[in-house]
Symmetry: C2
């Protein structure tokens, strides 16, 4: 496995492999890799000739009061995991490589970024859209792989890759979960044992919402109530939002027709957890 | 010469030529080609293996009260000029190819877009930055060629190509002028004969500003006054701005050190004219 630290070397590697007709799969990450990332790497390996994992804790997508400084970092373990999984390139640039002096360009996907995480975290999705655009133009993958756990992010990146003609298919892979349903996330390490026992409340709420839809419920407001009730039972959890949305536009659905995405975000202490379920009825 | 109308065909042409190691030069235009565009095409031919000219009147860079509908269009003459100049591909997409249903991604270069044309034409540079990003990701040229007449645009595109790692050198070619100094522009056809005789006032002002700097003038305000005086003599001309700026940041200069760019925009009737001069002292 090759570790690349500069944008110039990354672009050169990509150009050389394009000339040879090698298809590249990209798995963009912020490191602190877990089994969810591993699943993305494995599906990338199955569908592309060469796999690049990027590891970059992107300051632009953290708000001033958010956890950029204490976001978990474990570069050695990440490199070991990538090597074991047969990754070809670990792209781990320094922040000055990605945002050099004078940097000012911003990519926005305004309609998809407006609600939910975008509302809770102002500027977050501009930071995501900008860094992902840069990664896609640098690595020029045939496909880029994202976890469904960040549903809004995946929707936004799918849109931006098409809008900016970035030439990469965006593959959204199902969320990997703990045995009790908690979606894997690098931030889960911050949960105390007591908080950890409360954390599955979010997935339980989403499952209750799904069950209510599959039992014939079609009112967005009613399904939302079902979900709120489940989280409400967990005294450690506060609700940021629990919503029933159109999976394409992410706008709230009053009436569910053929499908919906249930989006949720809760707080347990200082830790935010997000999750979602796609429901077809 | 091949005429391409779809983004899919454009991307496929580019991919095929990349695989063969052909370097591509791109000249982005809004059509109504004149000798300024021809100079860009010729320098592209000299420095690249294959030349793509894009012809797209980009609605996103016109304000609601601007001249999108009446912007000059002469596709036949444009195709003839391109064929004569040995252009390989004329990329002339329909607006729905560039902005399909659901399109919403926007590219911004906020600091360079803030003043001058950006202030006079809100949203203009977001439209420019977005369409140029799309053209660069679609065509993937080794170099893209822009006229110096649109100095702020050229500065902004140079920045965005670097910021988004688009892999294209941005080449800014000197302004081509009429015998009396008027910078060539597709919009010059709108000038009545009387207005046309007034139009060189802008270039005369810039030249007077340059002469004052070369004669030792170093105060931005004083040079600005010199330029205002020249335009002020032309009763048909109204000043939008006349400014002495840092060529990199486009911020106004109080004191000129080693170089400056003189930026100007005037109105003659309903027609806006812009021009600039780069001065090294």
């Amino acid at each position: 496995m090759k570790t690349i630290r500069t944008v110039q070397a990354m672009a050169a590697w990509s150009a050389a492999h394009h000339r040879e007709g090698v298809t590249i799969g990209l798995v963009p990450t912020m490191g602190a890799l877990h089994a969810g990332h591993r699943a993305l790497i494995r599906v990338a390996r199955l569908s592309c000739d060469a796999v690049v994992v990027s590891l970059f804790v992107n300051p632009a997508q953290f708000g001033p009061k958010e956890d950029f400084a204490r976001y978990p970092r474990k570069p050695k373990a990440d490199a070991t995991l990538c090597r074991k999984e047969g990754v070809d390139v670990l792209f781990a640039p320094h922040v000055d490589e990605i945002y050099p002096d004078g940097f000012q360009t911003t990519v926005s996907v305004p309609r998809l970024a407006r609600r939910w995480e975008g509302e809770q975290r102002p500027g977050h999705f501009d930071g995501v859209a900008t860094v992902v655009t840069k990664l896609l133009t640098l690595v020029r993958p045939a496909a880029a792989f994202f976890g469904q756990k960040d549903f809004q992010q995946a929707a936004l990146i799918t849109r931006l890759a098409e809008d900016l003609n970035l030439g990469a298919r965006v593959i959204v892979y199902p969320t990997v979960r703990e045995a009790d349903g908690l979606a894997l996330s690098s931030r889960n390490v911050f949960l105390t044992p007591v908080q950890r026992r409360a954390a599955p409340a979010l997935f339980q709420a989403l499952k209750a919402g799904r069950a209510a839809i599959l039992a014939g419920g079609r009112s967005g407001a009613a399904i939302q109530q079902v979900m709120r009730k489940v989280v409400g039972k967990e005294s450690l959890a506060g609700i940021d939002y629990l919503a029933v949305c159109d999976p394409d536009t992410l706008e709230p659905l009053k009436h569910i027709r053929d499908c919906a995405v249930l989006l949720g975000a809760i707080r347990i202490g200082r830790i935010r957890l997000i999750d979602n379920l796609l429901v077809k009825c």
